[in-house]
């Protein structure tokens, strides 16, 4: 168990280092950082001095080390575009994205799993076919189109929900939350549905196919041969076995939700990290891009680690032999 956790931590560290290398290469070699920082009229001498001061003349390995050291201390430099520390930009933006992603994830999981289970058990009922048709449409509609559609119906036509922004937010320490005000909650509805719908369809389809897979196994056949009732077989035996791989994928999807938020945030002008990132891409604001990259990777690795530990808790086989058993 301890060895398992240590191995997992080690692998996570490798992934983070690789991503850090990518972020560093991006930061250091895509475009000249000096050109981005100073105006056209800066003299060559001034540039050279700035270069020396920022350590850009040091050996690359030293620079990479410094980059990692800074990143580990949560320092990603200064945004080319708005000339402020990237970390303070992120601190402002993170709560908005976090609340949006979490709400969307809850929405996706709470609806997706029951729908997947239902369609897995009742393969040929009309309700299953309805769910599957809806899920196929959900997968086929691009996120931004769903957002626009929702805006058109609920904001333009019905005028009941806001089409952009976070509404009123309450500041609690360094965190801003929209969950405590009526307008903040109202503003959350459409973006959360938009972001969650695609994930929900994925969860539904995944749970369904896993459920079908499990229902074909020998131990389910044997459970039926033992005379257990449908409820005991479907919910007692099949569901538990279904959820194990599902948890992994849902974990991966949670990481993806943060990144997918880019699109939703653009459509709804949601003041989160995704919007910040897309503006950074449009303006070639490299420090913001590389910081975002590292942050997403970090969240992803963190979630993965939690999922792996959850696994150990649920699956008795892993408790003894580790994941590969």
């Amino acid at each position: 168990m301890l060895a398992f956790t240590i191995r997992r931590l080690f692998e996570a560290a490798i992934v983070m280092l690789t991503v850090a290398l990518m972020a560093f290469v991006l930061f250091r070699f895509v475009g000249d950082p000096i050109n981005q920082m100073v105006g056209q009229d800066t003299s060559l001498a001034e540039r050279e001095e700035l270069r020396e001061r920022l350590g850009l003349n040091d050996p690359v390995l030293v620079q990479f080390g410094r980059f990692i050291w800074n990143a580990a201390r949560y320092d990603f430099g200064i945004s080319y575009q708005v000339k402020r520390p990237v970390t303070s930009l992120i601190a402002e933006r993170f709560p908005a994205t976090f609340e949006l992603a979490l709400t969307a994830a809850f929405f996706a999981i709470l609806l997706g799993i029951p729908m997947g289970v239902y369609t897995g058990i009742h393969r040929d009922s009309w309700l299953s076919k309805l769910f599957l048709s809806v899920s196929l449409i959900g997968i086929s509609l691009p996120t931004f189109l769903i957002g626009i559609l929702l805006i058109y119906v609920f904001a333009v036509q019905l005028g009941v929900l806001p089409s952009f922004g976070r509404g009123e937010v309450v500041r609690i320490g360094g965190w801003t939350t929209g969950l405590l005000t009526a307008s903040g909650l109202k503003a959350l509805i459409l973006p959360a549905i938009t972001l969650g719908l695609f994930q929900m369809t994925l969860v539904t389809r995944l749970v369904r196919s896993q459920m079908l897979e499990v229902l074909r196994t020998d131990y389910i056949k044997f459970a039926r041969a033992r005379g257990l009732g449908d409820r005991a077989v479907n919910f007692g035996h099949a569901l538990k076995n279904t959820l194990i791989p599902v948890i992994t994928i849902i974990g991966l999807q949670l990481g993806a939700i943060i990144a997918f938020a880019i699109i939703t945030e653009t459509v709804f002008q949601w003041p989160g990290m995704g919007l910040m990132f897309i503006q950074a891409v449009q303006n070639a604001d490299i420090p913001v891009m590389s910081a975002y990259l590292l942050l997403v990777a970090f969240l992803f690795v963190l979630i993965n680690l939690i999922v792996d530990l959850l696994y150990v808790w649920i699956d008795p086989r892993v408790r003894i032999y580790g994941r590969e058993a």
Partner: protein, 329 residues
């Protein structure tokens, strides 16, 4: 026989509707099993052995279905029971043992949880009583330290031990019939005999009838009282195990026997039946075995033989029909 058979199957027919027409996977199969008797069912894979077992316990996967015949368990007809009533037959009056003990048990539940859950599904017992009974059963199937191991997970048991657990599960409500579908095929050779002996002993003590499905004639020879040989969905020959092994009437059975190595070394070479069993989509006219049969004559290619009595057995072969008795020599 004055005794009512534990299981009586009459003219059972199992069909699979497909886009190329209906496949008849089990065709006109009839047999009885008396209480305490072991009936072996042998045949190559695809002969319909397992499907017969699955049909009896009512677990055919759609689109497969019982298209005709009767299944009678201790005088009660069960093939037309409603779903819920059939569920109370499964596990309670018919126990089942599958081929692979590694996959028969749910890996996420403790062995005890699975036994207790089965006991309580069929018998009015409290959790505590069911647990006590589960431990008794585990002791009976020969699990050392049952009080402790009842809280183990399936992966903590070896293959043979797991099959013992599966046996305990099949027996936990004292069924009238056990259907054992290749119960030893997935096990090490050294353990096969133990499991088979255990199965035989437990069922004899209880007077439980056993339908033992296997392709291993050796297992049949050791265990079964009577044996039914299946070929392409039909019974080719059925009779007392000694007679079928020593003096089979159907050329197919003789072929099967020729492929068992004998310890005495009386016949010094193993024989093999040329060709392979036809697919269900292409069963030849007449006797299904005729293209592979060394003794086939005109009638075999025209007419399909039904089971005909010969000595203490029944065989579906024109060679044993009274009028062609002279053709046999």
């Amino acid at each position: 026989m004055p005794e009512t058979p534990a299981l009586s199957v009459r003219n059972l027919r199992v069909e699979f509707p497909t886009r190329r027409g209906t496949l008849v996977a089990v065709d006109d199969v009839s047999f009885d099993i008396a209480p305490g008797e072991v009936l072996g069912i042998v045949g190559e894979s695809g002969a319909g052995k397992s499907l017969t077992g699955t049909a009896i316990i009512g677990l055919l996967e759609p689109p497969g279905r019982v298209a005709g015949g009767e299944i009678v368990l201790n005088g009660q007809r069960i093939d037309n029971l409603p779903r819920e009533a059939m569920r109370h037959i499964r596990g309670k009056r018919i126990g089942m043992v599958f081929q692979d003990p590694l996959t028969s048990l749910n890996p996420l539940y403790r062995v005890g949880e699975q036994i207790i859950e089965t006991i309580r599904a069929h018998l009015p017992m409290s959790e505590r009583e069911a647990r006590a009974r589960a431990i008794e059963l585990l002791i009976e199937v020969g699990i050392q330290g049952a009080e402790r191991r009842i809280d183990g997970y399936p992966h903590e048991f070896s293959g043979g031990m797991r099959q013992r657990v599966v046996l305990a599960l099949a027996l936990c409500a004292e069924p009238d019939l056990i259907i054992a579908d290749e119960p030893t095929t997935a096990l090490d050779v050294s353990i096969q005999a133990q499991i088979i002996q255990l199965l035989k002993r437990l069922c004899q003590e209880r007077g439980t009838a056993v339908m033992l499905i296997t392709h291993d004639m050796g297992v049949i020879a050791e265990t079964a009282n009577r044996v039914a040989v299946m070929y392409a969905g039909r019974i080719a020959e059925i009779g007392p195990v000694r007679e079928v092994i020593k003096s089979a009437h159907h050329p197919y059975t003789r072929g099967l026997m020729g492929s068992i190595p004998s310890i005495e070394g009386t016949n010094d070479r193993l024989t093999q039946i040329p060709g392979s069993m036809p697919r269900l989509t292409a069963i030849p006219k007449g006797c299904a075995f005729n293209p592979r049969c060394p003794h086939a004559f005109d009638r075999c290619r025209r007419e399909r033989p039904d089971l005909m009595p010969v000595d203490h057995s029944l065989a579906a072969c024109w060679l044993v029909a009274p009028q062609s008795a002279e053709a046999r020599s």
